[in-house]
């Protein structure tokens, strides 16, 4: 069936806004600035956490090795978390956006899968390290308390941890994963459009 409608003609008659170089330069400027801002923000957070650990170490002069280990593990948890999240953002910069649509989509699906795995592993690691770190850190101070006060302190902290581990952690992971799963399935859907049609000929 051939059509009498000239689609090409119609397509090109669509009024188009004029190219606006000034507007584009503005966008470029904003883009560069937001990249720099992001870099500064990440580094400020990293420097601030490092300074904080130094301050606690110096000011409170912990005597027990457990306290020092606790501080290191807690801060390490935050640093690793930040580092991996930055790495994840960098993953996307590695996709070659000048490759053809089929390859691009496949790469995108792989990367989203990697992101899914990283997020899951990272959340678990982050919570586990934070809990271990804080328990170790507390030991020096609770050991100076009476037995009952010490037990109560640990009981309250551990209850809080259990709540975190069994409620907050799965909820956070589920929320993150749901968003990613949705995206992956949409990308898969488009990819399927391509694959399904390869049997056309």
């Amino acid at each position: 069936m051939s059509s009498n409608i000239n689609f090409k003609d119609l397509w090109k008659q669509q009024p188009v806004i004029e190219p606006d170089m000034k507007d584009l330069v503005n966008r470029l400027h904003q883009f560069k600035q937001s990249n720099i801002r992001r870099l500064i923000m990440t580094n400020i957070l990293l420097i601030a956490t490092s300074l904080f650990i130094g301050f606690v170490w110096y000011y409170y002069q912990p005597k027990f090795i457990t306290t020092k280990m606790g501080i290191v593990i807690t801060v390490l948890a935050m640093v690793i978390y930040l580092f991996v999240y930055n790495k994840m953002a960098a993953l996307f910069n590695k996709i070659d956006n000048t490759s053809d649509n089929t390859h691009y989509l496949q790469k995108l699906i792989i990367i989203k899968g990697k992101q899914r795995f990283l997020q899951h592993t990272m959340m678990n690691l982050y919570f586990a390290m934070l809990m271990t770190g804080i328990c170790l850190y507390m030991y020096e101070y609770t050991s100076r308390m009476t037995m009952t006060a010490g037990i109560i302190t640990y009981a309250v902290t551990l209850t809080w941890f259990i709540f975190n581990w069994f409620y907050i952690r799965p909820k956070t992971i589920k929320k993150q994963q749901a968003k990613l799963d949705d995206l992956i399935s949409k990308f898969d859907g488009i990819n399927k459009q391509i694959l399904d049609d390869s049997h056309l000929l």
């Binding site: 689609f7 669509q14 009024p15 806004i17 190219p19 649509n101 488009i190």
Partner: protein, 158 residues
């Protein structure tokens, strides 16, 4: 080719491609501008292995595909207010209907038909999408058939 030249030559083509993909003027402008930001970033790395047009259309179409990641935008009027005042009276409803029909197609079909209507060679469309030329030919035929049917049905309704 300098960035300025590329921008002037390809802006309209890229903008129409984006408009066909989303059928939303503001959104299309955003995607088109994002595309040129990527072009600007990648231009020093461009190795002339493919035609500059193919290269730009690849960036633009990949960028369109990434739009799924953005939060769903509520479709607005197909034209911004400033453009509406001046030109709406002269716009054929048929043009609007064409863009609307294209935006309703599956994602890959939207890209293929937009490139075809933009007079991109079928071999180039194949290289942009990563499909075979024969496949593209069949697809274009089917999409055009689908569009014709929609236009006919639309004409009957009116």
């Amino acid at each position: 080719m300098t960035f300025d030249e590329i921008y002037k030559i390809y802006w309209q083509k890229i903008f129409r491609l984006c408009l066909g993909y989303v059928n939303d003027f503001d959104w299309a402008k955003d995607i088109a501008q994002e595309t040129f930001i990527i072009v600007w970033q990648q231009l020093p790395k461009f190795k002339h292995e493919s035609a500059v047009g193919t290269w730009i259309f690849r960036i633009a179409t990949n960028n369109c595909l990434r739009q799924i990641e953005k939060d769903k935008r509520t479709p607005k009027a197909a034209l911004p207010d400033d453009l509406k005042d001046e030109k709406q009276s002269s716009i054929e409803p048929q043009i609007r209907f064409l863009y609307q029909c294209i935006a309703e197609l599956p994602e890959t079909d939207r890209i293929i038909i937009s490139l075809e209507l933009e007079d991109v060679k079928q071999s180039e469309i194949a290289s942009i999408t990563g499909l075979s030329e024969a496949n593209i030919r069949v697809k274009i035929h089917r999409i055009k058939e689908k569009l014709s049917q929609k236009f006919k049905a639309h004409a009957h309704e009116q």
